[in-house]
Every structure is written in C-alpha cells, then in structure tokens.
Symmetry: C2
Subunit: 688 residues, 2 copies
Amino acid sequence: MATDQVPPIADEMPTVEPEAATAHVDDADVPADKGYRQPEVDVDALRAVLDGRYREVRDLVRANLAEHAQVLLDEEQMSTADFRERVKDVVVMMAATGQTGMGFPEEYGGGGDIGASIAAFETLAFGDLSVLVKVGVQFGLFGGAILQLGTKTHHDAYLADLVSGRTMGCFAMTESGHGSNVQALGTVATYDTASQEFVITTPDDVSRKDYIGNAATHAELAVVFAQLEVGEQRHGVHAFVVPIREDGRVLDGVRIEDCGPKMGLNGVDNGRLWFDGVRVPRTALLNQFAEVTPEGRYLSPIDNPNKRFFTMLGTLVQGRVCVGGAGINAAKVALTIATRYAERRRQFEAVSPDEEQVLLDYGMHQRRLLPLIARTYALHFAQEVVAAQLHDVFSGPGPTDEGADEHARRMLESRAAGTKALGTWHATRTIQECREACGGAGYLSENRFAALKADTDVFTTFEGDNHVLLQLVAKGLLTDYAGEFEDLDQLGMARFVAGIAVETVVERTAVHKLVQSVRDLLPGGDHWDQEAGLLDPNYQLAMLRFREEHMIGGVARRLKRGVDQGMDPGAVFSRVQDHVIAAARAHTERLVLEAFVQKAAALPDGDLKVALNLLCDLHALTTIEADRAWFMEHGRLSSARSKAISREVNALCRKIRPLAVDLVDAFGVPEEMLRSPELLGWPIGQDA
Amino acid sequence: MATDQVPPIADEMPTVEPEAATAHVDDADVPADKGYRQPEVDVDALRAVLDGRYREVRDLVRANLAEHAQVLLDEEQMSTADFRERVKDVVVMMAATGQTGMGFPEEYGGGGDIGASIAAFETLAFGDLSVLVKVGVQFGLFGGAILQLGTKTHHDAYLADLVSGRTMGCFAMTESGHGSNVQALGTVATYDTASQEFVITTPDDVSRKDYIGNAATHAELAVVFAQLEVGEQRHGVHAFVVPIREDGRVLDGVRIEDCGPKMGLNGVDNGRLWFDGVRVPRTALLNQFAEVTPEGRYLSPIDNPNKRFFTMLGTLVQGRVCVGGAGINAAKVALTIATRYAERRRQFEAVSPDEEQVLLDYGMHQRRLLPLIARTYALHFAQEVVAAQLHDVFSGPGPTDEGADEHARRMLESRAAGTKALGTWHATRTIQECREACGGAGYLSENRFAALKADTDVFTTFEGDNHVLLQLVAKGLLTDYAGEFEDLDQLGMARFVAGIAVETVVERTAVHKLVQSVRDLLPGGDHWDQEAGLLDPNYQLAMLRFREEHMIGGVARRLKRGVDQGMDPGAVFSRVQDHVIAAARAHTERLVLEAFVQKAAALPDGDLKVALNLLCDLHALTTIEADRAWFMEHGRLSSARSKAISREVNALCRKIRPLAVDLVDAFGVPEEMLRSPELLGWPIGQDA
C-alpha cells in the first residue's frame, strides 16, 4: 500500500529543503512585502490535496451524507426513541454502501483497507454526529474488538453479521467507578472448570458498565471487559463476548438501564449494564492474546500482565485516531459556516459612511477565524500522518507475530493520543468561536452550531480523557517507549525517570537529534533564534523542537529533584503534572507543524503552494505567539522579535483574508450539511 | 441608600493600606512559607460577605428556586410548547413573591430598590435559565423600557400589570440585518398628522425583528424600536408601545413567526415580527426623551440626535449588568459541582499503591479549577461594584434632569459593558472546563452541565456582542467619556484620537493618575517591578495599571500614525482593532482586581481575610501570568520573575486546595439546583 506522501514512522523527519522556503513571502517589515503577489486558490485542486489518496472514499461518504441529510432535521424534530431508530436505520443503510466496513477483511464483507476506513469515518463527521458515534461504536469499538482481540472462531461467528449491521453490538469497557483507569475495572469473569464457562459478575454498583453506546436499545452482543479469575488467580483485564439481548428481550442475569438524556448525541442509546452471574462458554474469551484451556490453565504469549494489558489495549488505538479526525472535521463544518457568513454579513460603517463593512474585513474578525483555519489545515495533515502510520502498522504483522515492531506501535499510540487531544480541543474551541462570530443567529438550531457544540463536547473526554492521554504521551517521551513502559504507572514513571540522568532522558528523545542540527540549517549559529527569518520553516520548527526538548528535560529534572529530596513519588508527580502535560503538548504541536511543513514543501511550485505556505506560516507563528512567554522566559525570543511575530501574524491574516472562503470551500463539506439558510443563503446586511 | 462597601463611582480607587498587605502570606520561595498557618473558612460568614447587603433578597430567590426545582427536570421531559407554558407559569408565580419587581416603583407594586432587583436576577441564574431569561425579557427589557423611556401615562397604563405578569410584553429591538448596530435599524415609524397616529412598517425582510423573546407565544405588547419619521424628516431610533396580540390572537398587520428550536433556552418563545402599516396612537411613543406634538412637531430636550440615541440606550444599561451577573452566577453552579466531585472522585494510584488518588489532589486538576474559583470571586465583587453604581445612578436624577451626572452615566455604561463581556466569557470557559473535569459523567443531562452550556452560550453575544462592548469601553477610555462621545463611531473615534496628542489621551485617563503613584507605594523606585513582593496587592495592581495605561497609549499612537500616514481611518481602525479590544480588556481586568483587593482589605483580620487574600493573590497572579508575555515584551517582567509567578500560582493552589469545597459552598447554590446525584451524592470511586 502506498503511503508515499507521509513521513516514515520512525520519528526522524527530514528538514525542509532550502528551495521550499523560497515559496514563502519575504520576511519584510510589515507592510512592505515588495514583489508579493496574491495567490489564487484552485478550490478543487486544494480539495484534492486535502482528500489525499482517499478522495473516492471521502466522496462516497459525502454522497451518503447528502442522501440522508434529512437526519439533521430529524434530530431536532423526533422523539429520542424515534431518533435512535432513525439513526440506526441510517447506519445500516450506509453500511450497505460499504462505507462503514472498509477496515474489515474482504472475506467478511469488508474492504480490507484500514486507511480507507479512517478516511470514511472522519468524513462522516461532516454530518449528524449521532450517526458518526453509532458507526464508531458498532464498527470501530465492537467490531474492532472482535477483529483485533478475537481469533478466527470469533471472526467467522460475528464479523459478517456485524459488518452488515445485522448484528448490533456494544463495547462494555467503562464503568461508573473507572473511566480512564481501565486496569482497575471491577467486573469479574471467573472460570468455572466444571462447566467450562466464564461467570460474569458485577460485584457492586460502581462496577456497573456505564455510558455504553448501543447498550440501551440495540445491542444484542457486548464485548465485556472484566478481571479474569482462574482458580483464585487474577490475570488482569480480558474481553469476552456476552449476549445481552435477543429479539429485543434482555437476557436473564443481565440488567440494562438507559443513561437518559445527554447534552448531545441523543441518537445513540447509551446504557448501563449489570451482570449477575451470567455464564458464557469458554470460547467467549477473545483469545488473541490469552487463552484458558478447558481444564483451567491460563496461557498467554505475553508473560508480563501489564504488557499483555497494554498490548491488548494498543490494538484498539484506531478509536482514538478516529475521534481525533472526527473532531478536526467537525471544526471544518463550523469554520465553513462562520467564514462564509463573515464574507457576507455587514455591520457598522467603518471604511465608508454609506455602506457597512463586511465582518471579515475587520482585523479582529480575521484574528478570530483565520488562525483557526490555518490550525485546521495543520491538524488535518497531522491526522493524515497518524492515519497512514496506523494503516501501515495494522497492515503488517500483529503485536505477537514475527517481525512485530513494538517500538512503532508504542509511537503510534503516543501520536494517536496526542493528535486526539489536540484535535478534539481544537473542535471545542473552534465551534465556540465560530458560533460567537455568527452572533445571535448562530444560536438557532437550524444552523449547525447547536448540534455541533452539544455533540462534539464529549470528544475531549471519550476514548480517553485528553489530560490522561497527554500523560501517556509524556510517559513515552520520558522513557523513550522503553520496554519497562508497560509497568510504569505514575509512581513508577517518577521513580524510573529519577533513576537515570536527565541528559540520558533527553538524549534518547527523537527531538534531541532534530535540535542538534538546528545550527547547520539556520544562519547565525547559536544566535539562530535572532537571525533566521520568521517565515523560514526551519526557524519555526527549530523553535518548537527547542521547546519540546527543553520541556522534557525540565520534567525529568523536576521529577528527579523531588524524588532525590525524599518526597513521595506520587506527590512529586502531582506537583510536576502541569509540566508533564505541557511537554506532551509541545511534542504533539511539533509533530503537527512538521506534518504541515512537509506537506507544503512537497507540493509543486505554484499558487497552491504559496497559499499553503501562507497558512503554514500563520499556523506556525500563532503557535509560537501563543507560547511566546515561554520562549522569552527561556531566552529564545527577544521582546522585539516577539512583537514582530504578532505583527507578522496580523500581516499574514490580511494576506489570507481574500482566500478565506476558498480555503474553507476546499474542505468539501457538502452543502446539505451546512444548513444555516439565513446565515449563508440569504441577503442579510444593509445592502441586501 | 447605603452603598458603603463599594468604591465611589469616580474612577479613583484608593490604594491598599500597608496593614492590609500583612494579611498576605510571605513571598517566600516555594515551598518554604515559614510560619504560614492554613486558614479555616466559616462558610456561612463567607457567604454573608458574598451576599452583601442583599442577603435577604438572595435568600428569597434561593427559596423560590428550590420550590420550583422541578422545572429543571421539566426542561428535559416536556415538549417545547409545554415547557414554554411551564416557564411562564413559574415566572408569574415568582412575580407574586415580589422577587421580579424589585426595581419598579412601589406605587406600581414594585420594590423601589434597583440594587435589590439586580441581586434577585443574578441569584436566579442558579436555576433554570429559561426562567431567568423570561424574567429578563418581561421585567428587565420590556418593563425597563416602559419605565425608563416612558412617562407617567405609560407607567400608569402598563406598569402594574406587567409587574404582576398579567400583561406579557416583548422588547423588539434587534433585526435580522442589525444586531449590535442598533442605530442602523430598518423598521420605520411614520407620523400621520391627519390621524395623529404612528404607522409602523417593516420595509424589508432584513428589517424584521428577530430573536425577540416572548414574541412567539406570550407577548401582548411590544416595545418596538423604529426610525421615527415626521414629515419626511428622520429623527433616529425611538421606541413605541405596539399591541401585537389579544387573547392569544395576533393582531391585524402584525406577522409573527417562531424562531424555532435553539441551542438552549427553549423555554423562551423567541420570535420574528413584521409590521405592515400598523397604526398606534401618538401616545404610543415612549416620550421620556422626545415628543411629537399632535400637529407633528418633533421636540426633544436633547438636540444632538446621536446623543439622544445614546442617552435613551444608556437608560437600558441594567440589562447588561444583569446578564454579566447571571453569567458569573451560572459559573458558580458549574464550579460547585466540579469541585465537590473532584473532592470525592478517585482515579489512578498516585501516592498510594492501594488507594486511588482524589482528583483534587492532582496538581493539574488544581490548576484547572482553583484559578476559576478565584476569578469567580473577583468577578463577583466587581459585579457588586457595578451593580451598586447602577443603583446609585438610577436612584438619582434622570439623564435630562437637573443635577444629572453625565460622566458618571458614561462610566457606568463602560463598566457595565466590560464586566458583562468578562463575566459571560468567564461563564462559557468555566462551564466547559468543569464539564471536562467531570469526564463522561458530566455529559449526562441529569447533571447541570448540558443545560448550563447550552443556555449560557448566547450570553456572550446578547445584550451586545462582547467584542462590540469592549470597543465601547475602549472608546470611553480613548475619549475620556468626552462630550463628543456620542458622535464617535469607529471612523470618528479614529479621527478624534488622531487629532490630539497621544500624551493628552493618556493623561486624561483615570489610570494615568493611579500609575503615577506607583513609585510612592512600592519599594525600589523605578525598579518596583523587580523588587516588590509578588503577593503585595499594590504590586499586582501596579502591573495591571501599567498595562492598561501603556495599551491605551499604544492604541492612540497606532491610530494617530495610521491616520497621519493618510490611511483611511476605517482601515486604520480595522488594523488596530485587536489592540483596541486588548486595551478595553486590560482596563476591565484592572477594575476587577481593584474590586477584589478592596473587598479583601476591608475585612476584619482573621481567617476569612487570610482565605480571601489567598484567592485574591491567586486571581491577580494568574491574571498577570496569563499575559506575562506582554509584561516581558514591555520590560515589566524579567524571565526569572515570570517563572517565579508561575511557581507562586502553583503554591497558592496547594494552599487553597483544602479550602476548595468551602469556597464553592459559600456561593450558596441551593442543593436542589445542583442535581448531579451520581457526581455528588453517590459513592463513586475505588473505595466506595
């Protein structure tokens, strides 16, 4: 499978060739810019760049979305019960087009292309998000668990029916008492040697399964995560296929409760599950990574229980990649509406006493929207990289197969976690800003903001709370995805890091090597930060790489000092936690910018490249600007240069402003998904 | 009326007495703090400080909220039509307790106390916000317009019935084409001398009245804002009382459309209004500031049409004060839930391998919630100041009466605008952070976050878009609330400022005098910024005052330079707009901190004072920290000191952490308003 346009998974990104930098406008003092020629954007060509190798897949989803556009209205007008059925029907109809099964093997009716399945899912986020999440639950979580954790018996038994949507299932992991900390789940699966069955039990109310999508109404099967007990011995969390419903009737020993109305996503039937000694056959254990023999012997190719657990969980990483991509694409919908509105709506006389000024001609309005467009492009390309890496890893040998690349898997998990956190926070922030930028009109449900806000809100906490995910990223950085990785909880990480030299921690990071080469790439030697052009991508990258390396070192130093001083490692961790999160964020921001820079550099010369370079500059400089305090504190930004960056951001906004509508049109959000008749299609403003 | 606890309206705040500063903990290097004794908070005493002089009023509202707590459930369970009726009924029941009429004269059944009416309204924001907004529409907007813009005839005709809720009305100002720019409204009221009537007409669809609360179902009367035309001559926007409905039937010539479902506030019936030559008698003009004689002569005590317009609008400032207060109080609900949850919920082993750690013991979680609590206190006290100023101004002579203090009115309007912007943005941000801090559980509607998020979202744009409001603040600062104020639109302001020396602009600001005295108050002379203690409130205030003065000067300089260079003033304004907004924000932040510092300083020595000083320090330092880049860029913060501030913020968080639950309990949100049975009342977490 060609993934030629994405960097290799090894975290060593080539720097930008000097010729690429020439496509950037000169770093002249604002507003000089002699010789600058405003580029024009070929919307279709830009959309082809964004859609990448999966343009056909994305267009199939766009067509399906347009066909079922009525569901956006149904969400407002139907009762919850009816809307749940409606969403289910849409999901099944979409499944029939092949759209939702692309990641499954062809022999079970799937498409055999993991990258395509992610592209399809992301694109689905242009539409109603209950449909998206229902698809995610059925094919991603439930289907993914059967595929990844099960073996041929399970595949033969379930895949064809779940791919078609004939059998609906749910993914029963989270409990009321345990969300992010999956290892501490309370549900128990005890092996009964006599009957060769597992007995599934919910020991107490905090161990009930909670917020489980598809559980309240539709699921017939559940993949249940439970502590496996064989003959008094616990082997950690494993997954079991448990029938919970037949012909709509809840099975004996299972209790199901509806989670009730939610902030959004009310087309998804979230529920709670209790198991009261429910018996399932020995073969119900999804036994890709562990097996219980009929006579009650526990076998696993992975000896270390923590490693086993993280290996199992790691196979489910696709969910995080999908949620991140969905967040980014939901942001595109909001930006498309707000930008087109800002190009039409006039308010207050500013330049002329006779005509009010178009919103997008206000400097503040440009500042509000254009950096968000730039960041959306950046995250889109970063998401493309992580999706391609996922495709490669999951198209290769399994984690316990010969030739498995464990390091690559850990790095993928880290990258997926970071991109998910940044992508979903970006969605929350962007949708909010766009709603406000449309004023009171944006508050009406017939525009998309109400649903977008309510539905995406949970993205920041599901598939892993964003802060917890960033801690996972930091753990990988600090331990270089070490073999000990799996055994390192927060206490362990603090102790581990405290046990090695700070220099060692830093030297083992990928970013360390990248920083080393800064002096060769930029003029000014040690003064590169003072002398390089603000619009030189090597400068921009150097800044983010320097920050990342320095932050990782800072975290290591602080952990070490605390532990050396005899403080409790947990207390040390708590104190350092904001630095841990900041380092992980800095790391992910660096990866995002690298993805954007490389994408722009790889384009042939021309207006499209000029336009993307403008956007890339805007993204890079607003990212640096947002943390300019840190750069000043750490001697990498003078106050004069810091102010110059803010001026340059404003200048870039003015250059990008004429392109704004083309840039959002290139996202290719189907018109039917925008709704907003009055914001977009209607002559509003003074001169109507 | 005693308003003894608030600073005088003249913008000259006394600095803090040295003795007050001693209540602060030492600025020792973290974590030394020798001799620091952790204070204990008497929740009831702290609540008395927060409730201030209106404790009884607030307790009445609390009791009413608790009595009608069922409405929170009804919001989820009822159809929109039923819920609208339900909300109306609750509003009328509350009106019967006197709660909603406190600002009206006693002879019409009101309470004759404007300050009390604001306190009541703010407190109402603890509950369902459709009820709040319905109250705001009926008594604040509709009733307020009759009271402020009408004269005795109108008062006698309408007030008693509207105060009781017998007559429902709406406030028909906003149009589809014009929200913030009210002066450009399209609806026309033409005087017909022959019949001595006004003819109200909607000339085109963009001039339809839009988003009008109470219009879709309940209002019988509308206060309609329209361009007054008398004999071919236009006199600008005036308000008219127009009957639109009788016994539920829409009157001839009026067309009403429902705005349809909204993101939130669906208990309020927002609608659109068109007028097709609707005739109302000459006395329908609310004639406090302008009159049309029977024979068609236009008379007004205010000659300048702009000044007249802004004077009329200025009398409606109470709406902005109320929305700001409501935002701050809605944030309190979210913080109460999230903080109590964080004190109970355990997740991940951190300090002990046997027991998971309470969320609020994580450094990051403290960082997320505690500065928001501190800022809520700060905004609460700032709101108390603006409410008291409103009370004083509106209890005194009217704007055209003898002894009227026009300067005080302008300053009040500016302060109300700034506080509204900061208060409502704070609500949006706080509710979002609190939802995320409660994880997936926070997404269920049975907690308050869903409704809080959806309902408060529009606060940032109604009663004036926050950015537009901050421009109003900036205009006041740059022109020193000059007589020319009313004539200055964006172009005019740019020209006006360009016409005077930058020094003159700065010298005329109130903050200029405050900055002058910095050297006398702080050690170190010109090096005050290096040598004063971080926890010295005079240092903290000096920083915010310096920033404000410098930003105002910067805006003036930029406007001047642009205009001097021959650029179009509107284009100059657009370029400088982000600086304009930043200056206004800096100004309001300074006022907020002053209010908090003075409140804390006025308390008697004791634990409560120590606790409030900790919170005030946390608010001040997080405010400086958030803009530390600016302070470094402008030479008022070394990088070492900047880092010290971040360390101090963390140290303050650790000191405040044990007080956190008491601090939110002191808000006095009725238990019934918290709902969230599983987040708050239920044994969740490992050791349940």
